[in-house]
Amino acid sequence: MKIASITTAAALLVTVTAGAGDEVATGVDAETGLKSWKWEGDGLGIELLQVPPDFIRASYARRGLPDTVIEAVATRCVFGTIIRNISDRSLSYRVADWRYTIDGGVEKPIKTKSEWLEEWHGMGVRFSWSILADDPTFAVGDWIQGFTTMAEPHASQLDLKVVWSIEGEPYEKILSGLQCAPPPAVD
């Protein structure tokens, strides 16, 4: 296992722990302390980043979303998520098939974009771009990003089982030790 430091163009110092082989690379933003996870294998690239509740509140409010929508998301555990097809064939996934566990407990589902939008449409909210697409099929080189949301308190630790298929051939990967963003800081 190696430790590397990367300085970005914005002089943002980030510590990255890169695992060999099948391990998940983790990062910690030196400025904010927020954590990220990255893994590539079996044709899939996945990256997750803690999204803090105050960011969700501010960005949703900017779009005029009602408080009920804002709080429903902001009070959950939220990860910004990038999914990439790095295979040379068609890749599909369904968020409805993904599960997470806490302390090895019962597997729990992730609330899907379709489930969120059904609620939001009932409230007259049509904004649909923030939550990760729940059942896309990606051709070669396609990628997408969005929020994944778990009904857990901020700062919870969990293991996420990601399931996908490449032209019908199933794969799964458990990303262990993910941690939800911490609760809002008290200024």
Binding site: T8, T32, L48, F55, G80, R126, S128, A133, G141, G146
Partner: protein, 187 residues
């Protein structure tokens, strides 16, 4: 002094949290963009080609444009938003492509999602290469829904008869020779 992201009332110190760019959703900083997945250059064929759905949307000046206005040209139809980092990254390459091929019959139509003229005007004014193709406003994403867009950016390439021939989900470098070869094949 607290600094703020220009687009949103979110403290910038909280926006620079991303090594991964999952800040994704609403405000990209340079460091964020630098860490996004690389832009590819593959557009994937739609088999069999499907007829594009016509629509009419306003541009920056409030003037209406229909997709059918461009019939007889090869059309690159791009769904995007300013808060979407890969959308921002790919736009200059789209302008370069447009500048190279517009006299031979390429039209580029960028359909913005959920934003207003003022915000987009400010954004395009900051680009190193300002778009000269039409930017239309799909404020409630109804056209995007019609086209089955699951994430931003998504780009379709239409032939002169208005059939959808190629698609790309996620950011691309559109002035890459591979994309240009597709354009040449359709012109």
């Amino acid at each position: 002094m607290r600094r703020f992201c220009p687009d949103f009332n979110v403290p910038r110190r909280r926006l620079s949290i991303s090594l991964l760019a999952l800040m994704l959703l609403f405000c990209a900083t340079q460091s964020v963009v630098a860490d996004q997945p690389p832009l590819g250059h593959k557009m994937n064929p739609v088999e069999p080609p499907v007829a594009s759905a016509d629509f009419t949307l306003p541009d920056m000046d409030g003037e209406s444009h229909s997709l059918s206005d461009f019939r007889g040209q090869v059309v690159m139809l791009n769904f995007w938003a300013t808060w979407c980092p890969p959308c921002r990254r790919e736009m200059p390459s789209m302008q370069r492509l447009y500048a190279k091929y517009r006299d031979r019959g390429l039209a580029v139509v960028a359909v913005n999602q959920w934003e207003d003229e003022d915000l987009v005007f400010e954004f395009t004014g900051r680009l190193s290469l300002e778009p000269t193709f039409p930017i239309l406003f799909d404020r409630e994403s109804r056209v995007a829904e019609t086209y089955g867009v699951k994430g931003l950016p998504t780009t379709y390439l239409l032939d002169r008869e208005g059939n959808v021939r190629f698609v790309a989900i996620g950011g691309r470098e559109f002035d890459h020779p591979d994309v240009e070869a597709l354009i040449e094949g359709l012109l």
